[in-house]
Amino acid sequence: MKHVIVIGGGVAGMQCAAELAMQDIKVTLLEKKSDTGGKVRGWHKLFPTFTPADEVLSGLRHKMALTQNITTKTGCEATTITPQKVTLSTGESINCDAVVVATGYTLFDAHIKEEYGYGIYDNVITSADLEEMFNKDDVRMKDGSTPRRIAILHCVGSRDEKVCQRHCSKVCCVTGVKQAIELKQMYPAADVFNFYMDIRMFGPGYEEMYREAQQKYNVHFVRGRISEVSPNIDNRLQIKAEDTLTGRPLKMGVDMLVLLIGMKSNDHNASLKADCGLQCQNSGFMQPKDSFLHNTESNIEGIFYAGAITAPKNVAEALNDGATAALRVKDWLNKQ
C-alpha cells in the first residue's frame, strides 16, 4: 500500500486525504494545531449561501472516517520535505511515496495598518474577529452596547504595496457583503457602510448577494479607502475617506470598524523554498508547475499542492484543489 503525507489539515488537506484514502492509499495528515479544520473552523457561515461552516467540516470529517486509511497527527509541523520523507518539528521523520502540501495561508496582521487603529481602539475588529463574534452570537461593542453605525473596510492587507501585499485576496469583497448582510439581519436599524476600492464579485451568486445587500438590506457602499481612524469626543471612531464617486472627502463617526483582512502567504513558504527547493511566487505563495494543466503540482516531482498554498482561494476552490491533487497523486503513484 502506497503512503502519502498530506501537510495541513484545513479543508484542502482534509479533502485530499479523504479522496486519497478512498483510492486505497495510506494517508498521514499532519496538522499544526490541535484539531483539523484550518481557518474554516473559525468561520460562522460561508458565502454566498450562508451555509454554516460546521456543515462543511463535519461533512469532510465524515468522509475521512469512511476508510481506516487516514492517520491524523495533530500538533506537529513539517520542517523539511522531500517526496520520500518528511521531517517533523519533533525530530521524527516519516517515509512516504508522495507529499501534498496544503498549509494554506496566514491572515494579514491588522496591527500593521496602524492608521486603522486595530489593537489601539476597542471597537476596531477584523473580519475574523467578527466571525468569532457571530459564532458566539454576541456582536457588540466593547462596552456591551449595540452598534448603530458600522463601517466595513475592504482590502486591509490586500492590494497594498505599503505592506508588501500586492495581490488581491479575492474573498474579502464577498465576505464584506456577507458580513454586512448578517449585521443588518442582526441590527436592522444600524447603518452599515462598506468602503471599497473595487467590488470583485467573481463567484456564482456573489453579484446577486451584493445586489441584495444594496437593495434589500440598504447597505451603503462607498468607493474609497479609509485613510485614518481617530477617536471622537463621544467615544466613537471617526473615519476619513474619499467618496471617490463624488470626488469629495468624507468623514463620519462609526461605532464599529470591521477590517476585512486579506490572505498573506505563510512565512514558512520561504523555508520551503530555501530548504526544500520548492519555488515561490513574488507574492510569497508557492509556484505551481504551471497555472493550467499542472496547477496542483510543484516543481519537484512527488510534491503536490492543494488549496490556498498557491494563491488566495475560497472554500469551494480549496475543496476542488484537494480532490484534484488527490487525482494527480494517484496518477503519479501509478506511474512509479
Binding site: E114, I120, Y121, I233
Partner: protein
Amino acid sequence: MKRSSWTDYQKDIADDHYYYARSCIRQNFFPGSEKVFLNILGKDLGRDIFDDPLHTSCTGIGYHSDVVPLETIMAVVARQFSLMSDAGYENFTSSCITSFGIYTELLATWEEFPETEERTRENLYKATGREFKKPKNLAHTSDVIFHHREAIAQRAKRKLVNVYTGEPLKVVEHIGCHYAKIFPKSGIGGSEFPYVLAGMVESWGGELVDYPERRHCCGFGFRNYLVQANRGYSISNSHKKLESMAPYKPDFIVCNCPGCSMFLDKWQYTIAEMDGTTYGQNGQGIPVLTYEEMAGLVLGYDPWELGMQMHQVDVEPLLDKMGVEYDPSAKYLGRNGKYLGRPEPTAVNSYSSRDTRYFIKQ
C-alpha cells in the same frame, strides 16, 4: 485607547554633547524658547551643548517653497555638518522641525543614492574648501527634552495640573508634518500615534487629548501661506484643527514645530477677526506653547523670561490655572526693563487692556 504602539517607534537619542542648530522661525518669534532650551540643557541638566554662531539657516523654507534647489540645500546642510565636525561634536540636534525633516531626508537620500553625497562633498569643497562627517546621532530638540523628561520631572517646581481642581491639564499636542510623516521611524511614536510631546505631557502630570484631526497639518504649508492669495487654504486648515479640538476644551496646545506654534497661535486672532469665532475658555483663545516653554514652566522659569508675552493668545489664564506667579505689569517689559510696546487689545489678547499700569522706562 491602548497607547502602546509608540513603543514600536523608538530611536537612539544621544545623552550628552549636542551640536545645536537654531530655527529661523523659533529664534525670531519665540526667542525665549531657544534660550531656555540651552539653559535647561546646560544649567538644569548639566549637559554639554554647543550653540555655534557660525551656522546658518538650513534654507528649508526656501526649499519647501521651491526657491532653493536640492543641490543647494544639500551643500548648506553639508556645511552645518562640517561646522559640527569642526567644533568636535557628533550629535546634531536641531530646533526646527522642518530642518530636522531636511536633515533626515538628505541623510536618507545620501544613503539610498550615494552619488548625491559624492556630488555634495564635491560642491561643498569647491565652494568652501570644507569637508564633512555625517552626524552619529541626529535628534530634534524635542527628542532631547523627551529623552530627559524624567530628569526634568524630578526637578519640577510645578506640574501640569490645575491648581484649583487638582485635575491634570488637558493638552493638545501637535508634532508637525516634517517630524515623522516623512519617515515615521525618525519620530518617537511614529506619525500615527506620536509620543514625543505626549511623553513629556504625561511625565509632567498633564493629560493628552486625542482628537480626530490630531494628525492634520497646522496649515502653514509654506507656499500656501507665503503667497497671500493662498492664505485661505492655510487658515482653513488651522480652522479645521481648532474646530476639531475645541469640543475637548483643551487647556493649551503644545507644539513641536516653530511654524505650527506660530500659526495655531496667530490664526486664532485672524479667525476671530474674520468670522468672530473664538476658542478656549471664555472665548479668550487656546494658549499655544512650545515644548521648551512647557518645560520651562514646569521647571519654574518666569513666563516673561520664557518669552510668553510674545504670544498672540494670552497665556495668563493658563498661568493662573497652573498657579504660576507672575508680574502682570512686567509682561511687556523686555530685557533691562525696557518697555516693548503692547498690542492692541483683541478677543484673544485682552489681558493687557485689563491690566493696570506699566513702568515705562525710556
